[in-house]
Amino acid sequence: MAKIGTAGNYGKKVRSDCKATIELTDSGSLQIEFISKLEAYFGDHIKSLIEAELKFFGIKNAKLTLEDRGSLDYVIAARVEAAIKKAIETEKEFLLDILPQNFNQTEKDKLRRSRLYLPGNTPKLALNAGLHKPDEIILDLEDSVAPDKKFEAAIMVRNALRSVNFYGAERAVRINQLPAGLQDLDHVVPQHVNLILVPKTESADQIEAVNEKIAEIKKARKLDYNIWLMPIIESALGVINSYEIAKGENVVALAIGLEDYTADIGTQRTNEGKESFFARSQVVNSAKAAKIQAIDSVFSDVNDMEALKQNVLNSKALGFDGMGCIHPRQIVVIHENFAPTEKEIEKAQNIVAAYNEAKEKGLGVVSLGSKMIDAPVVKRAFRTLKLADIGGNIEPHGKKTGGNK
């Protein structure tokens, strides 16, 4: 058994985080050292939080040092717990109250135009992420977390799911590649997570394994909410199997990850995206065949908003419903450009009006001028108007240029 455990980050550039170091001792009861600019403001409060946590884990003799750079309670609790769990073996979890809004559930076909990735072990970025109004926020346990930080990141993400207000964004977690990712589910499934992203999915079996594990946890803990899945296709094999994957239970969207995919097929990713045209189209096609959303890859040049805009317009033209982002400033560009154009809105308004008229008159057939309109077209028109209302086609003065409620 280790006698010293440490977790977290501390340094000149670190913000909203802390580093906890625990040293188990044979006697001398609990000694807590709190090194922080916040000592004068929150010193007593934070020390009593740490005391309560040590007591919870049954630690009677230890020296605990917390080097802090402005962290909130849930961050401190996560770092202390991770440090303790590196020093002793325990199954217990020190859970702070869950925010009432984090009991929310999301709809299968909710808008998922933007999904903002946040490194799971960097709490600073999570605090205000929801203010930028992405449709979905992803706490990432996979690529953005260094291998030696995976353990503490899982605890951090667990706490964030309970304590951070995401201001209405869908709360998602990207677990690690299977099979390791299955263990991540233990941390996140009980925290009312809305959606799980399954990276590097290559077969329907993997989705089944995730569903099974989620069901097992839900049964054991008597949880009865939906957890949606978004597999990410990141390989040639994944592209080939994408339809089977898309048909999986609870799968609501199929995403493509182009960095890994282009590496897998032995090429480079370009802005025009010729090399991934087949894969992207295949993913769109598989998703639409399974009647779920198709979600494009992230665009990684955060300084080039014009290139991002072109990328979004291409995605939309290919049939994607949304894309990933890695910087909050990308969100508005994505929303604006996934939003229907004025022409599309006008057309949709006419179709909906024709539909309403036909309904009123009790006609079985909807027609616009001399043209018959099929049911899927009407459905798409409704969706266009829904997108227009939330989709940023709103003048700064609040006058809507299109759409009706």
Binding site: L38, F42, L72, H132, R329
Partner: protein, 520 residues
């Protein structure tokens, strides 16, 4: 002599001294209530017969100039801060004073910077008795711990001009850096080896000081033009190797923020002024230094381009972002009090529509109207605000005075004064029940914008009405405070002693608040 004595509660409910550094002062009476009636400073009149006919006032070095100017115990020495953190001369003055054995000087800078930290040794040894002017960084920290012999005295830029021009502060020797000067003292800040921009802060000093010394590192043949300082106001001219480092004029506060949250604040701010009907053809505005204010300029520019309109004038402290607007024809004029970066310095030299102006006309309470009050909107940062819209820009929540007061109070005169602040910094909420130090009374602050919402002062019913359908997140300040406190927790109050270490003046010269010694 006590540093401060005879405390009363002023009209803002703050306990303030009525005797500061031995001088009687008036407690704040309310905005616009106190109006002085006396006739102003009366500087000693010179006689041109006492000055060299050939105009050559060059003396060997600063030590000789200070000696000739009659430096002695208890005098007031003034300097300007156009070099900001790149100032080489202020420290040199007091090194010389120490060498000459002079004590108990009062330093009257238009602002001090971290580069002035070496002056602490002269405060310790008694060469400097106290500082009247912005105290930020190390000097502010020093004063906050009660170590300065006299009281710190914080005046706004306009307030400093007022105090000199109405005789509240008599300047014995003004030491004015200029990047270029001629032998008789005509000088400016835009030519020479190390230009720093306009010299608006020097005007009160050179007109009212008994002796004025121009220090330069670039001597040019007579006449040195433009002459922001005229030789007819100058006693001595001194050449030194280097007066300052223009690169250090640029600081972290003069670049656009990269923080997504602060960009969001700036975007809300631009959308707010647009929704309020302020962004229209021919409008005038100012955006202070600070990454968020500068991002505001960028977002306003986008709105202006979209609407096809331009501004008439932008008041500065400007930066390259405002200079871009001038170059691109999005404003007719830039009005410049001080340059915040090198592009601004270059622009003011090369562009006739970039106009240098003085503190008197833009900010002084004794001028017949302020330029600041004609601005349609001014956007500023702040360290703290409170639920009554009071604002603090000088101290942290722990009571330590760490930031300059600058033109903060003067900018409150604008038609719409907006404070952009993050809702918390390192877990410390920015919206308080009561600000630690009162620098601007709540009635002067129109709007507070954070990344979590926009709070409009209830007094501004017009702004509330104009923006109610804007779709912007307009919030009650108490609700916003409750949300922030729920995230951060409520911090313990700062531990302050009852020993006064500095006072904050309001623009009219009355005492608005006291800064108390922090507990060690």
């Amino acid at each position: 002599m006590k540093k401060a004595d005879k405390f009363v509660k002023n009209a803002a409910g703050r306990v303030v001294p009525t005797i500061v550094n031995g001088r009687e002062v008036i407690a704040f009476q309310g905005v616009g209530k106190y109006k002085p009636t006396h006739t102003g400073a009366s500087p000693r009149v010179p006689t041109s017969a006492d000055y060299p006919k050939d105009g050559n006032k060059i003396v060997e070095n600063l030590k000789e100039a200070l000696s000739k100017a009659g430096i002695k115990d208890g005098m007031t020495i003034s300097t300007h801060h156009h070099y900001r953190n790149g100032d080489f001369v202020s420290n040199l003055i007091f090194d010389i004073a120490a060498e000459l054995g002079v004590k108990n000087l009062r330093w009257l800078p238009s602002a001090a910077f971290p580069c002035n930290e070496p002056l602490i040794k002269h405060l310790e040894s008694g060469v400097i008795h106290h500082i009247e002017g912005s105290l930020n960084g190390p000097l502010g920290n020093y004063c906050s711990h009660g170590k300065m012999k006299g009281m710190g005295y914080l005046r706004s830029h306009g307030g400093r001009y007022r105090a000199i021009s109405d005789g509240e502060v008599h300047v014995d020797i003004a030491v004015m850096c200029a990047s270029a000067a001629d032998m008789t003292g005509n000088a400016n800040g835009i030519l020479g080896k190390h230009p720093f921009g306009p010299m608006g802060f020097t005007k009160a000093d050179v007109k009212n000081a008994d002796k004025t010394i121009v220090v330069t590192d670039t001597l040019i043949p007579y006449p040195c033009y433009p002459w922001e300082i005229m030789g007819s106001d100058v006693d001595y001219v001194v050449m030194v190797d280097k007066i300052g480092d223009p690169d250090k004029i640029v600081s972290g506060t003069t670049r656009i923020t990269k923080s997504p949250d602060r960009l969001l604040i700036a975007e809300y701010c631009a959308k707010f002024v647009d929704a309020a009907g302020i962004v229209k053809d021919g409008f005038c505005f100012q955006a202070g230094a600070g990454g968020t204010s500068l991002a505001f300029v960028k977002f306003v520019k986008e709105i202006m381009l979209k609407k096809g309109i331009k501004a008439r004038a932008i008041l500065g402290g400007n930066t390259k972002y405002q200079v871009e607007l001038l170059k691109e024809g999005l404003t007719d004029y830039l009005l410049e009090g001080q340059a915040f970066d090198l592009e601004t310095i270059k622009s003011i030299r090369d562009n006739a529509n970039h106009i240098a102006l003085g503190v008197f006309e833009s900010y002084d309470y004794h001028s017949k109207g302020n330029i600041a009050s004609m601005m349609d909107a001014i956007v500023l940062g702040s360290t703290e605000v409170d639920v009554n819209f009071n604002a603090n820009c000088v101290s942290h929540s722990d009571g330590r005075m760490l930031h300059g007061i600058g033109g903060f109070q003067n900018c409150m005169m604008a038609k719409c004064t907006i404070l952009t602040v993050p809702s918390f910094r390192d877990r410390i909420p920015v919206i308080k029940d009561k600000v630690t130090t009162l620098v601007a009374p709540g009635e002067m602050v129109d709007v507070i914008i954070t990344e979590r919402g926009i709070c409009i002062n209830p007094l501004r019913k017009d702004l509330i009405e104009a923006t109610k359908d804007s779709g912007l997140p307009i919030r009650d300040i108490h609700d916003l405070k409750a949300e922030i406190d729920a995230i951060c927790g409520t911090p313990a109050k700062p531990k302050l002693t009852n020993e006064a270490v500095a006072v904050v003046e309001w623009v009219d010269g009355t005492i608005l608040d006291t800064i108390w010694k922090v507990e060690q």
